[in-house]
């Protein structure tokens, strides 16, 4: 019983310390765990990869490392996909891998308390709730908290080769 409350308290502290990087895709605001973020850079010099899904823009050279670039706007079927000065790439670490994700803009870093994180409802087809760690409410804003690990290693992202999946 005692142990139970301890665990709960510990979990609460851990959660209350969670920081998120908030970015926008169109008019929607998304957030990912800041600890996954390696760096933020501009969108440039991407080499196209033939026969890849449209949301995989290609690969780029990140100080000698070849990094795939995924456009989440295409993946999430946003209507307007433009590449301009504001367009940024968030370089994230997923396991041992490094992946860049294209977003419209990065706004800020937010700290969310556990009570601000609501469970994600069952979603539609485009973004399965499997890839969400919840919804963050911040006064009148709603942040979609993306579990970037799960999303980027999922089969449908086709970023990682899975067993029996040889092209």
């Amino acid at each position: 019983m005692n142990q139970h409350t301890d665990l709960a308290a510990q979990a609460a502290t851990d959660l209350s310390h969670r920081e998120f990087l908030v970015f926008s895709l169109g008019d929607e605001e998304y957030a990912i765990d800041i600890l996954k973020v390696q760096e933020i850079r501009g969108y440039e010099n991407v080499t196209r990869i033939a026969n890849a899904p449209a949301f995989i823009k290609g690969v780029t050279n990140l100080r000698g490392v070849i990094v795939p670039i995924v456009d989440l706007r295409i993946k999430f079927r946003l209507e307007r996909v433009e590449y301009g000065g504001q367009t940024v790439v968030i370089v994230v670490n997923v396991g041992t891998r490094v992946v860049g994700i294209v977003v419209d803009a990065v706004s800020d870093v937010m700290t969310l308390a556990p009570e601000q994180i609501k469970p994600a409802p069952e979603f539609g087809v485009t973004l399965s709730s499997d890839y969400l760690s919840g919804l963050g409410s911040l006064e009148d804003r709603m942040l979609v908290l993306v579990d970037i690990d799960k999303l980027l290693t999922s089969d449908e992202m086709a970023l990682v080769e899975h067993a029996g999946d040889s092209a």
Partner: protein, 750 residues
């Protein structure tokens, strides 16, 4: 200071020693064993025993101890070697490997296996030496032979174990029961280290006295640990020549004898060797001294009491003095070792990556400078060309660090062949050629599995039984040859057997059975390629060793993943040659950069045969959208890069393009590109590190301007193009075209 810090060093060293031991055992001719080799094997066992004792790996230590005793008898000619004894020795060596692995994984070694091997060794000693020595002058040997179970014995006689090294004293324990006083002299050891050393010593026994100055500090130690083990502990902090161990005056009676004994031995050696000898020479002096009475005066008592450890001690006493002598004889080896260092592959890879970056930066600078007016600053231009040369030299030097001789791979096959041949009742002689051919370390590691598979196949299915061979008019002993040689930028590795060869009819029949599309008109080459089909195995050939075909697809895939390919040459009744062609290194590639539309790609130069401007006259259309290009007397299929890789804005009029004749996996075709840009060395970057395999592409590289260019996979590109054409063909009736995406992702990317 924690002794566990040195575990890894010990494990690595022990592993090398065991590998050495195996090599020597395999080279050993049982009929006329080479003394040097026997000594080397003995030394390896001895060193492992010492280390195991120091670190408290009791089982390992006891096993090596038994083994060492047997080896000692062997090298003194008391145990006559036979092939089956060598087998037992090899088995013991394997067991030691297992035990080592267990300790490394912090597990207890397999007790049952340990007991079994001990029993085997003891039985061997009893049968072989017991008889041989009956009338001999060695009183201790029968006792050793009579040994029922030496393992528990030391537990009874040894003093309470308060340090790991105590347990090391299986042999010394009974004789040194009361503790021996040793003088440990520390010569020129820094103050800090000296205190550490004395602290260590205090754990091994009781420090009776400390004397001397900072330059030569002597510690009198009462301990049951052998001088050798003490030295093993000390040498982690102090250099070997900084420590000197000798028995204290109280046991001086024996000390001078051994002292003079070892003196002349060392006299012959060069002065430079003294570092090596200093610790060795006193070691035997300490060891045999207390043990000698056990075997000499008390031999009768020892024998009647069947105190096994006394016998063991006696053999060690005998064994004790020769090893240093041998070590000195082989002193060239340690000296050689001192000139190399062990570096983790990660570090080397990091250096290679950084040098790659440097090359890229250099070519980036070069590009900028080449746009400047040449007369503007000649010093800058001179500096640039110097930088270029230095960077290239540096790259070459760094790459050579990763190159290891093929011997590293080949050396593991004598054992495999020997074991398999005896299991299959076949006579096989293995020869290796070109062991010194160098190959990238990462490739040697990856080639081992496929090569092992091929060797197994050759033994199991290639080489026939001696009877069958004689019946076929061939010598009873089959020949298996492993060879390696350089050919241009490639290495050619061949597995050649003079066995039965592949059976064309059977392969064809089996292929038909499994629904593959084959015809009798197929060329031999094409038929042989069939055995690489997944799951292909001619049932009649399957055995527990291998089934030709099972896993051959894996062999092929592994080799392709390394950027190489496999060819088979086979003549029925005469044998099979499997040839693996691999690039020398995966890190650097001679490439030809080409342009298609606005995109730049790299072709591996090794795959490029020639390039030409196709003309209408030489182009022939084939059914559908297929085209062939006539080049001299050959008709080559045409693959356009822009259609295979969906490049926009490429030239579509064939006569405006350039046809590069390429060859991949034995297939030639004409690759259509817009322009040739030039040849350059590129640093190969793996796409799979952060992404995945891309069809038609083998890797990526970074160009001078910092952008990424894809390196095309010639063989795969042809396949991709064919698949696409087929798909397009199927889809012509459908409403939409599916030109892009792989089967798995197409529905999601749409």
């Amino acid at each position: 200071m924690d002794i566990t810090d040195f575990y890894d060093t010990f494990f690595e060293e022990a592993e090398e020693l065991l590998a050495d031991m195996e090599r020597h055992l395999l080279e050993l001719d049982p009929a006329a064993p080479d003394t040097e080799q026997l000594n080397a094997i003995f030394r390896a066992a001895h060193s492992i025993k010492g280390g195991a004792g120091t670190f408290g790996f009791e089982i390992l230590q006891r096993t090596t101890h038994l083994f060492e005793n047997l080896l000692d008898h062997t090298r003194r000619g008391e145990l006559r070697l036979r092939p089956d004894i060598v087998d037992t020795f090899l088995e013991t060596k394997d067991m030691l490997n297992d035990q080592l692995d267990a300790y490394r994984n912090e597990q207890a070694p397999d007790q049952e296996a340990y007991e079994r091997i001990c029993q085997t060794l003891k039985t061997l000693a009893l049968e072989e030496i017991g008889q041989a020595l009956d009338g001999g002058a060695e009183p201790a040997a029968p006792a050793a032979a009579a040994a029922a179970d030496p393992a528990p014995a030391p537990a009874a006689t040894a003093p309470p174990a308060d340090s790991p090294a105590d347990q090391a004293a299986t042999s010394e324990a009974p004789a040194q029961d009361d503790g021996t006083a040793l003088v440990v002299a520390l010569i020129g050891v820094a103050d800090k280290d000296r205190e550490l050393l004395v602290e260590e010593l205090a754990q091994l026994g009781e420090v009776l006295e400390r004397r001397g100055d900072a330059q030569r500090h002597e510690v009198v130690l009462s301990t049951s640990v052998s001088a050798e083990d003490i030295e093993a502990v000390m040498c982690f902090i102090a250099e070997a020549d900084q420590v000197e161990i000798r028995p204290c005056q109280s046991v001086a009676g024996t000390a001078p004898v051994t002292g003079t004994d070892s003196a002349p031995e060392s006299a012959g050696d060069s002065a430079g060797d003294s570092a090596e000898k200093a610790p060795d020479a006193p070691a035997p002096a300490a060891e045999p001294a207390p043990a000698a009475p056990g075997s000499d005066a008390g031999s009768a008592a020892a024998a009647t009491a069947a105190v096994t450890t006394a016998a063991a001690a006696a053999t060690t006493a005998d064994a004790g003095s020769p090893p240093p002598r041998q070590q000195r004889k082989a002193s060239t080896k340690p000296v050689k070792e001192a000139s190399s260092i062990r570096v983790s592959v990660d570090k080397v890879d990091q250096i290679i990556n950084l040098v790659g970056e440097l090359i890229i930066t250099q070519s980036m600078l070069d590009q900028t400078v080449s746009e400047l007016d040449a007369a503007a600053d000649p010093r800058l231009l001179n500096g640039m060309s110097l930088l270029q040369r230095n960077a290239r030299d540096l790259q070459e030097a760094v790459m050579s660090v990763r190159m290891v001789p093929m011997d590293y791979v080949f050396s593991r096959y004598p054992r495999l062949v020997r074991d398999l041949a005896s299991k299959l009742d076949k006579d096989v002689e293995l020869t290796t050629e070109g062991e010194s051919t160098e190959l990238d370390k990462s490739l040697t590691e990856r080639i081992i599995d496929p090569l092992t598979h091929l060797v197994r196949n050759s033994l199991d299915h290639g080489i026939e039984s001696p009877e069958a061979r004689l019946a076929a008019g061939k010598p009873a002993t089959g020949r298996l040859t492993l060879s390696a040689q350089h050919q241009g930028g490639n290495i050619l590795i061949e597995v050649i057997d003079d066995g039965a060869g592949l059976d064309r009819e059977r392969i064809l029949a089996k292929a038909r059975e499994s629904g593959l599309n084959v015809s009798d008109a197929m060329s031999d080459d094409e038929v042989w390629q069939l055995i690489f089909a997944p799951g292909f195995s001619t049932a009649a050939q399957v055995s527990d060793v291998s089934g030709r075909g099972v896993g051959m697809d894996v062999v092929k895939r592994n080799i392709q993943a390394m950027g190489g390919h496999v060819e088979i040459l086979s003549r029925q009744g005469q044998g099979t040659t499997t040839r693996i062609v691999l690039p020398l290194t995966l890190a650097i590639l001679d490439g030809m950069s080409i342009r298609v539309g606005e995109e730049t790609f790299i072709l591996p130069l090794s795959a490029v045969l020639e390039s030409l401007q196709p003309s209408r006259d030489n182009l022939y259309a084939m059914a559908g959208d297929d085209q062939v290009l006539q080049v001299r007397d050959e008709y080559l299929p045409v693959v356009a890069v822009h259609s295979a890789l969906d490049v926009a804005n490429a030239r579509t009029e064939i006569t405006e393009t350039i046809a590069v004749i390429v060859q991949g996996e034995g297939r030639r075709y004409a690759l259509l590109v817009d322009d040739l840009i030039g040849q350059q060395q590129v640093v190969v970057k793996n796409l799979e590190t952060n992404y995945r395999r891309v069809p038609g592409v083998s890797a990526a590289t970074i160009l001078g301007d910092g952008s990424v260019a894809l390196i095309l996979d010639i063989a795969d590109l042809h396949r991709l193009d064919r698949e696409k054409k087929q798909r397009r063909h199927h889809d012509t009736r459908g409403a939409h075209l599916l030109p892009e995406s792989q089967p798995l992702t197409e529905d999601l990317s749409a």
